[in-house]
Every structure is written in structure tokens, then in C-alpha cells.
């Protein structure tokens, strides 16, 4: 088709910027069109699958009514949420929450508590998982272990298991009829009821310990695999030189290996902490500690307080996104090259 028999309208469309993207005339333009075409499906999925629903969620979090139609504007849910979070802060909390809740919203410190629980428990499990992950990645990379492929397969197996199954694994190990519970009961002569880590009242030390194992069951495999990628790039010549010059294995690790894998460790910490924040199924089954994700279940399924749930979800989502992006940006962590 030559340019002569085109309608003037089509010719005018081709002059515009979008038109130049669709009907390029240069090789550079064609390359641009290819990149755009390759990215279109992804943007479509991201728009319909994430962007529109999230915008709707933000809208509900500032709506007056949401039961039949989303209508009106109100900052009530946020005021209530932040006042409740403030109420949990020791010393200055009461005054601060009174200052925020100007509309007389019902203040409930439970939100502050769940957020605090999510943060501290996530941090503890993250540090534990990454520490074990470093040791595992180190051993898998440096030692000549037999059946290494099989070991990697076995360690990565739990990645495919949902959180509810991880929780059931904990019941198998630590429940009242659990393997380890009964093993230690036989050894110590105590009753299994006093030793079981699952099924204990929520918030007790034993229950939280059981949940801790449930978390690291899901997190160790991920941390290990992230760190394996880091270890694969370590310069082994420097390590061998250090050993040849008389450094102990510990000194070699401390002064040669560690500086090289530090960015990878930071990246693994960030992403594993993200995983910890998002764990839900494990908590839903074990019910040992009220974290934010568990609170969502209470709000959505039990109370249908969708506006405050959306406000909490919005805060939680913004926190995770900002945390992930800023920390990956301002540390030298290398995750996605």
C-alpha cells in the first residue's frame, strides 16, 4: 500500500506521537514499537490485576459507605487506625491518640499491637533464616558434599508448600502427638501437654516458639536460594590465597568472603523480611500470635469492616513497597541485577 492512496485522516494520525509509535518509519522507531508490543501484555495484566483493584481498595479506605455502593469521602478509617496505633505507643500514646481521633472514633490498641508483632517477629525470623541460609549456601558451595543436586532439591522443596501446609508440618513435629514433643517427653518424663508448641494459648512463649519454627520452615529455603546466587559469584582465588598465607577458615570468611557476599546478605534480609510480613496461612492455622495478616482475616471474614481493613491494607502495602524499594535502592543489595 503506497502512501498516495491513504486517507488524509490516517496520514494525520501518523503525524502524532502515538501514531509514530504504531506506524514507525525508521529502524529506531520500529525498535521502539517492538519494545512497546512486548510490554503491552504485562502492562495490561498489571493494570487489571493490580492497579485497578488497589485503587479501588484505596477508595474504599476513604469512603463513608461501602456496603452496597462506595460513596462519600471520610478520613474516619485512617484516623481510627492511626489513633489506635498511637494508643499502643508507651508513655505518649494516650495523648497522641486523643489528638488524632478528633471525630471521636473508637480507639482500639489492638492495631498497634498487631503491627508491632508483625515487625518484631518478622525481624527475628528473618535474621534466623538468613543466618541458617548463609551456613547452608556456604556448605553447598564450598564443600564437596555428596549428592549436592539432591540436597538442593530437598532444601528448595518447601518453597512449593503453602503456609497452611507448613503449619501442619509444625503440628506433626511439635503438636500434642507430635514427634519431637513425644521424643522429649520420653526423655524428660514430662507430659506432652507441657511441651507441645502448637495448640498452646495464643501469645504464650511456647506458642510463639512454635510459630517461629513455622515461619522459618517457609523462609529458610528462600533465603538459602537467594544466597546461593550470591555465593556463586564469590572470587575463590582470594580465599585460596588467604588460606595459603596462613589465615584460619574463620579469618578467611570474616575478611575475604564476608565483604564479597555482604550485598547479597542485605538483599536476602530485605526479601526474606518481605516474605515474613506476607505470611498468612501459617498464622491462620496455628493462631499463636496476632500479626497484621491475621488481623485482616478478623476484619474481612468476621467483622466485614472493609473500610478499616482497606485502610490497614493500604498502610501495610505502602510500607512493604517503600521498604523494599528504598532498601534495595540505598543498599548495594543486588537482587534483580
Amino acid at each position: 500500500m503506497s502512501t498516495l492512496d491513504e486517507s488524509p485522516l490516517l496520514g494525520r494520525v501518523r503525524e502524532t506521537r502515538a501514531g509514530r509509535l504504531v506506524f514507525p518509519t525508521t529502524e529506531r522507531g520500529r525498535k521502539r514499537r517492538r519494545i512497546a508490543a512486548l510490554a503491552v501484555p504485562f502492562f495490561a495484566l498489571a493494570t487489571f490485576g493490580a492497579f485497578i483493584p488497589l485503587v479501588k481498595m484505596f477508595r474504599i479506605s476513604v469512603a463513608e459507605q461501602f456496603l452496597y455502593e462506595v460513596q462519600g469521602w471520610s478520613l474516619g478509617p485512617y484516623r481510627r487506625l492511626f489513633a489506635s496505633i498511637a494508643a499502643f505507643i508507651p508513655v505518649v500514646g494516650t495523648d497522641l491518640s486523643a489528638a488524632i481521633a478528633v471525630g471521636g472514633e473508637a480507639v482500639n490498641p489492638v492495631y498497634g499491637e498487631t503491627i508491632w508483632n508483625s515487625l518484631w517477629f518478622g525481624a527475628v525470623t528473618t535474621v534466623a533464616s538468613v543466618a541458617v541460609g548463609i551456613a547452608l549456601a556456604h556448605g553447598l558451595e564450598k564443600y564437596d558434599l555428596p549428592r549436592k543436586g539432591l540436597l538442593v532439591t530437598l532444601i528448595s522443596f518447601p518453597i512449593s508448600l503453602p503456609g497452611i501446609v507448613a503449619a501442619f508440618m509444625m503440628i506433626v513435629l511439635f503438636g500434642q502427638t507430635g514427634l519431637l514433643t513425644n521424643f522429649f517427653a520420653v526423655l524428660s518424663g514430662a507430659q506432652p501437654v507441657d511441651l507441645q508448641l502448637t495448640g498452646q494459648p495464643s501469645g504464650t512463649t511456647l506458642a510463639v516458639l512454635g510459630l517461629f519454627f513455622g515461619y522459618i520452615y517457609s523462609m529458610i529455603p528462600r533465603a538459602t536460594l537467594l544466597l546461593r546466587g550470591t555465593y556463586a559469584e564469590v572470587n575463590t582465588d582470594a580465599e585460596e590465597a588467604a588460606r595459603a598465607l596462613g589465615a584460619t577458615p574463620l579469618q578467611t570468611f570474616r575478611y575475604v568472603t564476608l565483604p564479597q557476599i555482604r550485598p547479597g546478605i542485605v538483599g536476602a534480609l530485605i526479601l526474606t523480611f518481605r516474605t515474613a510480613l506476607a505470611i498468612f496461612g501459617t498464622v491462620l492455622v496455628l493462631k499463636s500470635l496476632s500479626v497484621v495478616t491475621f488481623r485482616f482475616d478478623q476484619l474481612v471474614k468476621v467483622g466485614y469492616e472493609l473500610n478499616i481493613a482497606s485502610a490497614l491494607a493500604a498502610v501495610f502495602f505502602l510500607f512493604t513497597v517503600l521498604f523494599t524499594f528504598l532498601s534495595l535502592r540505598y543498599t548495594s543489595a543486588e537482587v534483580a541485577r
Partner: protein, 331 residues
């Protein structure tokens, strides 16, 4: 604190030449300790899986050892094929295909309608439990979307350099939205949408990073530019080059990415739990119901169904050339 400077040389405190006690201890026992830790971890991760599987074949299990005889009852009830009340909670009977009564109606002008009846009355009862079959299909649809979305994006960010490439890459390989948040966001967004479509949309969005990572690792091992230019200089159009040279070259990444995405989508729980309202139940909700309301051994059987699936998938992955799920480390 010692940090390597630009040359990679360590500045700061010079380490002692003489190893201290800790150094001597680590030299002697360090390797044994780390190896032991690897073994303990593997036992911690895999031990309960094996115990669950074995336990599902026994009549009782209290304490350290199983008792009673071997039985298939737990499995029969979990699969929903036993004639008990509990079986109604199983996987919802088998998928049955019933042949249509009327094959089709031929409408011709000026003639009476011609109805073709199916010659005989027959139905096929597949040995596939309902919830399982449903989840298999849902996850397959999710994988299909992931392929259509993930492969082009992986190619774009690996082959081309453009403004915003790094940002796009980050969005594609990092799971931005946690499943439970996405579930809450979906609750009011598409009210008229059947659960099925919402679930597929969510699955494909949540699992896209695994697909992109797997396909990217394949693309990165290929000389994309050279392949593309050779094919183009031999007269292939860009589209033909992409579909018939580039994509087949990344076969391993595409296959392993699909397998991983399928497995993770088939058992996706957090999102399904919030979003599911009506229609056939996803498999993960069936697992949850078993874990929370059923006797221990039947729950063990229900979970073992999933273990069998994952074991098969892992074997498949190893056959393709991956060590289990080690492709999807980022989450």
C-alpha cells in the same frame, strides 16, 4: 569494621597472624558443624513431609510410633470416594462427563429443523476428584496468561536497552503485592465477576515473577542479539524471528517456569481464601478445611495428595534440568 576499597584490598585492622582459640576451634570443627547444620535443616524440612505421608496409611498415630494396621481409608475419605459422612467433605466426588443428548440441530431454510440425537446414552467418569481437577485447570489458565505476559517482558528487558528498563525489570521479578492484600483489593473491584476469573487473574499476577525469572535465566545464556541479527539477515521478519528462533531457544526456562508457576498457583492459599465466594472450591481451601476440621490422619492423607503432586513435579523439573524449585528464590 573492614571494607574493601576500590581495588578490593581490605583496609582497616590487620587481622592477627596467630589464630586465637576460636580460630583453632573453627579450623578443627567448623566444617563438621556446618555439614551437621545442613543435615539437621534437611531433616527439619523434609522429615515431617515423610512422616505425614507414611502416617496417612495407618489407622492410628499417637506418640512416637504408628499403631494399628495399614489402611487406605484415610486416602479414600480425603479423595471423597468412601461411603461415609466425612467423605462429603472430601474432594467432592469425581468429575463426570455426560455425553449430550442432542448433538446439534440443523436449521435449513424452507425445511423443518433437523435434530441429530446422540446415538447412545453414555458418560465418562474420570478418576479426577472435583476440587483437584478444578484447581489443575485454574492453575493451567494462570500459566497460560503467565506465558503470554512473562516471555515477552523477559525478552524486552534482556534484549533491549530503553528508558525505564530497570524499573520494569524490578516490577516483573519482584512480587510487589502480597497475596492477602491483593485479595482484599479484589473483594469489591469486580463484583459481578465469577470467582473463577478473579482467581485466574490473581494467580497469574501473583506468580508472574517466577515465570519471568526462569525465562530470563534462559535468555541470558543465549546470544540474543547475534541470533536475532542472523535470522533477520537471512530474511526472517522480526515476528518470525521471535516466535521461531528466540522462543524455542529458551525452551528450558519456559518449561521450568511453567511447571513452577503451575505448582505454586495450584496451591495458592492466601489470595484464594479472601477472594473465593462461590463455585467449585480451589484445592488449597480443601486442604485448609482438612487441616482445621478433620482428624489428624485424614488431614495427613489430604496433604499427602499434594505431596504426591509436588514430588511428581519436582521429578519433572529434574528431568528438564533444574534442581527442584531453586529457580524461584525471589518471593
Amino acid at each position: 569494621m573492614s571494607t574493601p576499597d576500590a581495588d578490593g584490598a581490605v583496609t582497616g585492622a590487620v587481622p592477627d597472624r596467630e589464630p586465637g582459640r576460636l580460630g583453632r576451634l573453627s579450623a578443627r570443627y567448623g566444617r563438621a558443624l556446618v555439614t551437621a547444620l545442613i543435615l539437621v535443616t534437611v531433616v527439619f524440612l523434609i522429615g515431617p513431609v515423610l512422616v505425614t505421608f507414611v502416617a496417612s496409611f495407618f489407622q492410628n498415630w499417637t506418640g512416637l510410633f504408628p499403631s494399628g494396621g495399614l489402611t487406605l481409608q484415610n486416602w479414600a475419605q480425603a479423595l471423597g470416594i468412601a461411603d461415609t459422612v466425612g467423605a462429603a467433605r472430601g474432594l467432592g466426588g469425581f468429575w463426570t462427563f455426560v455425553a449430550p443428548d442432542v448433538l446439534f440441530v440443523l436449521q435449513l431454510p424452507l425445511l423443518p429443523d433437523l435434530t441429530l440425537y446422540f446415538p447412545f446414552d453414555f458418560y465418562i467418569q474420570t478418576p479426577i476428584p472435583m476440587a483437584l481437577g478444578f484447581s489443575v485447570l485454574l492453575a493451567l489458565l494462570g500459566v497460560l496468561i503467565n506465558l503470554l505476559v512473562g516471555v515477552p517482558v523477559a525478552y524486552a528487558v534482556t534484549r533491549y536497552d530503553f528508558r525505564g528498563r530497570r524499573l520494569m525489570n524490578t516490577f516483573a521479578v519482584l512480587p510487589i503485592v502480597p497475596g492477602i492484600i491483593l485479595g482484599i483489593a479484589f473483594l469489591k473491584t469486580y463484583p459481578g465477576l465469577p470467582s473463577v476469573i478473579a482467581l485466574v487473574l490473581g494467580y497469574s499476577l501473583l506468580k508472574i515473577p517466577y515465570m519471568v525469572l526462569a525465562v530470563q535465566s534462559s535468555f541470558e545464556s543465549m546470544d540474543l542479539r547475534q541470533m536475532e541479527e542472523s535470522a533477520r539477515s537471512l530474511g526472517a521478519s522480526w515476528t518470525t524471528t521471535f516466535l521461531r528462533v528466540i522462543v524455542p531457544g529458551a525452551k528450558q526456562g519456559i518449561i521450568s517456569g511453567s511447571i513452577i508457576c503451575w505448582t505454586l498457583a495450584a496451591a495458592e492459599f492466601n489470595f484464594s481464601y479472601v477472594v473465593y465466594s462461590s463455585g467449585p472450591r480451589p484445592f488449597s481451601l480443601f486442604l485448609f478445611e482438612n487441616i482445621s476440621n478433620n482428624p489428624f490422619l485424614r488431614a495427613a492423607a489430604a496433604i499427602s495428595i499434594y505431596f504426591v503432586i509436588v514430588a511428581a513435579v519436582t521429578a519433572l523439573l529434574n528431568y528438564v534440568g533444574e534442581n527442584g524449585f531453586s529457580v524461584g528464590g525471589v518471593r
